[in-house]
Symmetry: C3
C-alpha cells in the first residue's frame, strides 16, 4: 500500500469476519483462517441459493470490476465476469495488455494504479509469480489474484475446497486422493495448503518424476496431515472420498516412452469408477484432455462441472466481501 | 442434450409459439415453421418499436449472454451484444479463445459446458461446419449460432427475410433477385432456404463459376419456388422487388482475366437503380467492397443499413424467446 | 453527415451550452469555446462529486457505447468504459477490428454506420490522422475521438486542462512548463492549443531536436500567449505553477550518444521538486518510463494519478452532454 491508498483498505484484524474482508486483497491461500473459510463458504452457499432462485441481484450495482488478464484464461475470465454481473455490477475486460502500454514499458504498479482510478476492484491474471502481491501493494482498490504464473491461484484453491465441502458436507476426516502432475500443478499446491488446515488423509498418486515437491510435502506433514504416496490410482480409489485429477502433460517428459508408459495409468474410466465409493466426488480443475474418460461425465459422482459452477459462487462471495457488501 | 441438461430445455412441440421457443437452440434455418417465422417477426416488430420509443428495457435484467467467438466478426458480435444490453441483460465477451484453453486441447463440448455454468445463453461463432449443433447438444443452456464456417448463419437468414417483410410488407408473390457469388455465400443459402417456405419467384444472377449449388437449386424447385438463372443483373432489375447483392471475391477465381471481366457487371450503380421499381429493396449482408456504389447509399430503396439494424431486433426477439421472456 | 443521419445531431449554435453539446461529435480541441470548456468543467466537477458520494448513477441507463479501438490503448479504453458504466450505461468492446471485417476490406464509414445501428454513441481510437472526422461525418450517432494517430486526442487535452483547473483553481495567469518531447507528443499539442484560449505564460523545455513545431509555436504567440524556450528544467521549475512532463523516446534519436546525453536532464527527481513551489501541479499523461522518479509519487504535488482519475470525470461529462443528459 502506498500513501495514495484510500480508506477502503482495512487491516483485517477486526473480530468480525465481514469487517475483516472489507477492502482486503485476495492473493494467497495462506492468508485465510478456518473462520475465514467458513465465512466464505457460508456466503457462497447464499450466492448459489440466490442464483438458483432469481439468477441475479443488485448488491454491487454501480460497482466496476477491471478484469485485467496479461495472459488468456477463458474460463477464469468468464467466471469472474459472470460473478460480478450476477451481483449487479459491471466489468471492464482488459486482454492482450502486453500489446498496449506495457509494450511501451509501463510497469505493473503504474497500470494497476491507473485502473484503480476507474474501477472498484481489480482481478489480475499475470504470468509472473508474485505479480498479484506487487499489484496489491500499489493499488488503492482491492486486488483479487486470478493466478500468477506457477505461483498461487487462490480462488481456484477456494473453489476446489468449497466443492469438497459442498459435495460431501464436510472436509474433516476425508480420504483425499490427488492424481496426476503433482509437481507442477499450482491448483494441487493451493488445494493441498488449504487441506492442511483440516484433518485429512492425503494420498498422492503420480509418476515418479511428477511427485509433489518435497518441501510442500513436509509442510503438509508438519501441519499434521497424514500423507502417503503411490503410483497406481486403482489401488486407492475404493477408499477415496475425493479423487482430484490433474493433467499429465506430455511436454513435462523428456522421454516419450516414459510418457506413453504412464499416461494410461492416470486415466479415470467407468471401469475404475466401478470400484469407487457410492458417495464420493471426482474432481478436475479443467480443462481436461483425456485424464477423465467422457463416459464418466454422466456418473453422479463426476463433480467437475459442479466444481466449475462453484467457482462463480466463490467469486461472488469474495467480490461481495472485499467490497463490503457480503 | 446430455444428462446434466437442466429443465430450461424444452422439446419445442408445444402448440403455443412462445412456449416452443423457450429453452430452444437456434442452429439452423431449417428448424423453423412459417408460424415460427411469423412469431419472430411479430416480436421483432415490437422490439423495434420499443427501441425507437425508449431505447431499452429491463426484460432480461440479471441474465447473462456468453458471446463466444472462435473467429472475429465485429458486426455480428456487436449486434448480439447490443441486443442483449437493450433488453437489460449483460454480456461476457470471449474472443481469441483459440489462444486459451482450446490451445491446451480442450474440446468444444467442455468449453460450452463450462460456460453454461456461468451464463444463461451462449452465442457461438465458429469456423467449423456443425460446431453449433455439437455445442447445442452439450450445453445445458440455449445455444444460438452466430455462424459456423461455410455452414449455417441462421440469424443472418432471419434478419434478411425480416428485412424483406419489413420493407415490402409481405414475402409472398415477390420477385427476388440474388446477385453475386451464389455458390459460396452462406447468407444466400440460408435466405434461399427460408424463401422456399413462401411463394416467391427467384432469379439468380452470377458468373458461371459462382452459380448456386445444383442440389440447393433442386431443393428450392422441389419446394415449389420458381427459379431461373441469368448472368446480367440489368436484364432483371426492372421487375425485381428485392435485389440481394453479395460480394464476388477475387480469390474465388483462378483466372484473373475472368474476374476482371465479370466484376463490373455485378456492381449496382445509380444508373442501374434508375431502371428499378419505385418500391423495391436493395439489400446486402455487408461488408461490401464495391458491389454497391457509394452514390447509391442515399437512395431510399437502399435498405442495407436498415437491414443491419433489423439484425439487432431479430436477435432481441430470439434472445427474449429462448429465455422465455418474449 | 449523410442523409441517413438522424435528428440527434444538432448544429451546435444554440445559445444554451447543454443544448449545444447534444448530438455533437467530439473530434478536436479546436471546436470548443471558453464557455464550452467552463460548461464541461462544471459538469466534470459534478461527476467527481457524484462518484465520490455514491459511485454511480442511472443517468445513461439503457444507453450503449461502442468502444471501437483500431489500436490498443488500455488506459483510454478502460477510462471510457468506466465513465459509461458509472453513468449506468453499457459498453460494447471492439478491439482488434483490423482482423475482422476491415481485413475483408470494409471502409471505416461502413463500419461506423453499422455500429451506429446498434449503439447510441461511438468512441473511436484509430491510427490514422483524420479518422475521427471521417467517422463523425458518416455516423448517425455522436462520435467521440479517443485519439487518431499523431493528430488529435481531444479528451486527453480536456482532462489535462481540467486537471490544471482542478489542482490550482484557475488556468489564467499561470506559469505552465512543458517538458520532454514537444515535437511529437500529441497530448502536448492538444493542451497547448487549449491553453492558448487562456492568459498563460508558457515555457517549453526540450532537447533541440524535439522542440515544439514552429507553426504551432507561432499559433500560440498569435493567440497572445507568452512563449519562451529553454533546455534545462532546473532553471525554471521554481517559478512553475504547472510542470507537464512527457516521455523522451529513445527511438526519436538517430544518435544514441545524444539520447544518453539528454535523457537525465529531463527526469523529475525529489531533489528537483525541492526547488518547486509549495503549491504547484506535476503532471504526466502516462504511461511514464523514467521521466518521473518513483520517489516523487508520494509528493502531494504529484498530480498524475489524479489526472488519470479526472479523465473519467471528463469522459462522463462528455458522454452525458452529447447524449443530452448532462
Amino acid at each position: 500500500m502506498t500513501p495514495d491508498t484510500n480508506v477502503r483498505k482495512t487491516v483485517g484484524l477486526a473480530a468480525d469476519r465481514q469487517q475483516s474482508f472489507y477492502g482486503r486483497d485476495i492473493v494467497s491461500v495462506r492468508q485465510f483462517t478456518r473462520d475465514d473459510l467458513n465465512y466464505i463458504f457460508t456466503v457462497s452457499d447464499e450466492m448459489r441459493s440466490l442464483v438458483h432462485r432469481v439468477g441475479a441481484t443488485d448488491l454491487l450495482k454501480g460497482h466496476i470490476l477491471a478484469n485485467l488478464f496479461y495472459e488468456p484464461s477463458t474460463r477464469t475470465f468468464a467466471s469472474f465476469a459472470a460473478a460480478m454481473q450476477r451481483l449487479g455490477g459491471s466489468t471492464i475486460p482488459i486482454h492482450g495488455v502486453q500489446y498496449s502500454s506495457v509494450s511501451k514499458g509501463e510497469s505493473l504498479p503504474d497500470t494497476v494504479r491507473s485502473l484503480a482510478c476507474y474501477a472498484d476492484v481489480i482481478v489480475l491474471r499475470h504470468p509472473e509469480v508474485g505479480a498479484s502481491e506487487v499489484a496489491a501493494r500499489y493499488s488503492s482498490k482491492p486486488v483479487i489474484s486470478a493466478g500468477d504464473g506457477v505461483g498461487e491461484h487462490p480462488t481456484q484453491g477456494l473453489l476446489d475446497l468449497y466443492t469438497i465441502y459442498a459435495e460431501l458436507g464436510t472436509v474433516d476426516e476425508l480420504n483425499v486422493t490427488m492424481v496426476g502432475d503433482l509437481r507442477n500443478g499450482r491448483t494441487v499446491h493451493s488445494l493441498a495448503r488449504l487441506l492442511s488446515m483440516y484433518r485429512v488423509n492425503l494420498t498422492l498418486v503420480s509418476p515418479a518424476i511428477l511427485r509433489l515437491p518435497a518441501q510442500l510435502k513436509q509442510e503438509l506433514v508438519d501441519a499434521g496431515l497424514s500423507v502417503r504416496e503411490t503410483d497406481r490410482v486403482e489401488n486407492v480409489i475404493s477408499e477415496s472420498d475425493v479423487v482430484y485429477v490433474t493433467r499429465v502433460q506430455r511436454e513435462r517428459f523428456e522421454d516419450m516412452h516414459e510418457y506413453e508408459a504412464v499416461r494410461d495409468s492416470y486415466e479415470i474410466t467407468p471401469e475404475l469408477m466401478a470400484n469407487a465409493k457410492e458417495k464420493m466426488a471426482l474432481m478436475h480443475p479443467l480443462p481436461r484432455v483425456n485424464e477423465i474418460h467422457y463416459d464418466v461425465d454422466d456418473d453422479p459422482r463426476a463433480a467437475y462441472f459442479r466444481q466449475m459452477e462453484n467457482g462463480m459462487y466463490i467469486r461472488m462471495a469474495l467480490l461481495a466481501a472485499v467490497l463490503g457488501k457480503a
